[in-house]
Subunit: 376 residues, 2 copies
């Protein structure tokens, strides 16, 4: 099954498209909220829908450990029925988590053996296992199982892990397409910060028929300049007729910088995780709602924001909820932060369509990355 | 200002009425979800509205400590604007919490001095202070500040605390009505389990013009038989032309037993607190969703329930969310438990109107109080 990628507009290297998936159409550039355990933390599916989320990300590693793919499989349409989300789902392969969360890890050509961080049980995951889980989850987009290169890595280590990822990608591809798959499979370009390895990884992948390509091994702690170098080197070589997905990125400024270079898809825990820590994205920068300066502030969190949180509640109330560890505080912060990201993507798409992306990018890049300055 | 209490139907001692309050009409018998810190835990106001909640309870003690009445006062319409809830609010007086939560308590005729459980600061609360806070919160119904009698208590101790409560009630009444109040004030009958003291308390209160009367000092650990004895003794003496409120009760079976004896209003943390602990009320009894038996159970929590949780999610999903400490699990459990309570009250009102309350009561009393039996 070929993924239909309908290119609508370009503005420099930035582009707008419609991606046709089994559970619906996704407008790109798109941001995918992260739903690790079959729930975007603190949100109900109907809230995500009204925020305009078109696709969410599920974590294969986490779901394979809890509740286990066999339990998700008992539900209609896999993860969709389990979590009550009828729109598209992308699942990562578990590769990144195996390398960032699991302990006592033993890597062999066959796959990875590790201790479950949930209960200490010994678990084995191979490229074939990852594909089996993602098929059962009935993801619209499944990702290749990769050996994610740590940062920093020597050329030799980056090469070894990239080459293993390429062999695993090939095995996963054969396994995923062995009979009618529930969705599409994306390959992942690795190679760390070593540009010739990125070239080699991409060339290796392009021997097979992937429905989209991702950039992996970024957003792992590297400086922004290094990431941009990899993007500027690799993106122009990636096929223009299918989606390009930058995994795990990032701040609004990072997203805009990547869209400017031709990226179509993003995911990041930042809006949801920051909300749980009281860090709220606004047009003036990040507001730390725990700050005492908001104690008596009856104004909205962000006066130019149209989300439910900003329309109905004061900063003083949000600070109070945070201080009392009230769940509603996390909910209202998450609604706001996801609205901020999803609204940013709508603005990006509109600007590309209008040929005014550069002006939008300049405006977003001018927002301070860290805490907002004291309000007057 | 006189509270308009519109009696609609009676069925034995059970009765249906409409209580007209500044922020709207409340149908009784009514259950008031508890919103301690200006939020019914895990719920948004629009969810409470769609569940059919007509009035919520706020805690004067908690709100006076965090965020402080002065901060709530900065918001339009007090606690209504602060928490985004436009419907009626009843606030307790703080009396019960001073006696159950505060440490280093010193009671004098003037009031109570105690250490704040939030930050250890020394706080003083008098009947006048409690009225001032409740006026600022703009509660539709404010409660008299009382010295809540512990259980068990000797006759002498119960008398001393009841008599102090009566003197405080009189002071609070004068203070609340000293100029145009934002709502109505209810008195609280005390006296512990000592029936003559209950009579004396009620007689003392009836010298003043309260817009409703509550039964306090119950749901404090006494056996059910003792509580029913107090209800059966006191309720027939309480005026029939205004609301009767049983504070802090209870299980569905307790509510039905109290309605049968003439109670109109209830509040309890049970549906919300139980939800946070994975205890979910169903037509077959309480389901402990943490139980391993629900691991592979794709059926709804309660097949006869029409709430959003039961319509959209499986027991396996609810158990998974609980196991992963996901906020959505608490949310879905709270929606279900509040729906269970609010639907019970709708059924009670309909049965009283139809003259069939006894049959409903028999059915509810037959539901086991503790965990549901294993499902087939």
């Amino acid at each position: 099954m070929k993924l239909r990628f309908e290119l609508l507009h370009t503005d420099g290297a930035a582009r707008c498209a419609r991606v046709h998936l089994p559970h619906g159409v996704v407008d790109t550039p798109v941001f995918m909220p992260v739903g690790t355990y079959g729930t975007v933390k603190a949100m109900a599916p109907e809230e995500l829908e009204s925020l305009g989320a078109q696709i969410v990300l599920g974590n294969t590693f986490h779901l394979a450990l809890r509740p286990g793919a066999d339990i998700v499989a008992l539900h209609r349409d896999g993860l969709h029925g389990f979590m009550g989300w009828e729109r598209p789902i992308l699942t990562d392969s578990g590769g990144f988590q195996v390398f960032s969360l699991a302990t006592l890890r033993q890597i062999s050509e066959q796959g990875v053996r590790f201790r479950s961080p949930v209960d200490g049980a010994e678990v084995h995951m191979s490229p074939e296992d990852s594909m089996d889980v993602q098929r059962v989850l009935r993801s619209d987009i499944a990702m290749a199982f990769d050996d994610c290169t740590a940062y920093p890595a020597t050329e030799a280590r980056a090469r070894e892990s990239m080459e293993r990822s390429m062999r695993w990608a090939e095995r996963g591809h054969a396994h995923y397409y062995r009979d009618a798959p529930p969705g599409h499979l994306f390959g992942i370009v690795q190679g760390g910060m070593h540009l010739p390895l990125r070239t080699a990884s991409l060339e290796s992948l392009l021997k097979l028929d992937w429905q989209g390509l991702a950039l992996g091994g970024l957003a792992v702690g590297e400086p922004e300049e290094e990431r941009l170098k990899v993007l500027e080197h690799t993106l122009p070589m990636m096929p223009a007729d299918r989606p390009r997905y930058l995994m795990g990125v990032g701040y609004p400024q990072d997203i805009v910088a990547a869209v400017a270079r031709g990226v179509d898809m993003f995911d990041c825990v930042m809006p949801t995780r920051h909300a749980r820590n009281g860090h709220l994205f606004t047009s003036e920068g990040i507001v730390n709602i725990r700050n005492a300066r908001y104690q008596r502030d009856t104004g909205p969190l962000d006066p130019v924001c149209s989300c439910n949180t900003c329309r109905r509640y004061s900063r003083a109330y949000l600070r109070h909820l945070d201080r009392c560890d009230e769940i509603l505080g996390v909910r209202l912060g998450t609604v706001h932060n996801l609205h901020f990201y999803l609204e940013l993507m709508r603005q990006i798409r509109a600007a590309i369509a209008a040929g005014s992306f550069a002006a939008l990018a300049t405006r977003i890049m001018a927002i301070p990355r860290r805490s907002a300055p004291p309000m007057a």
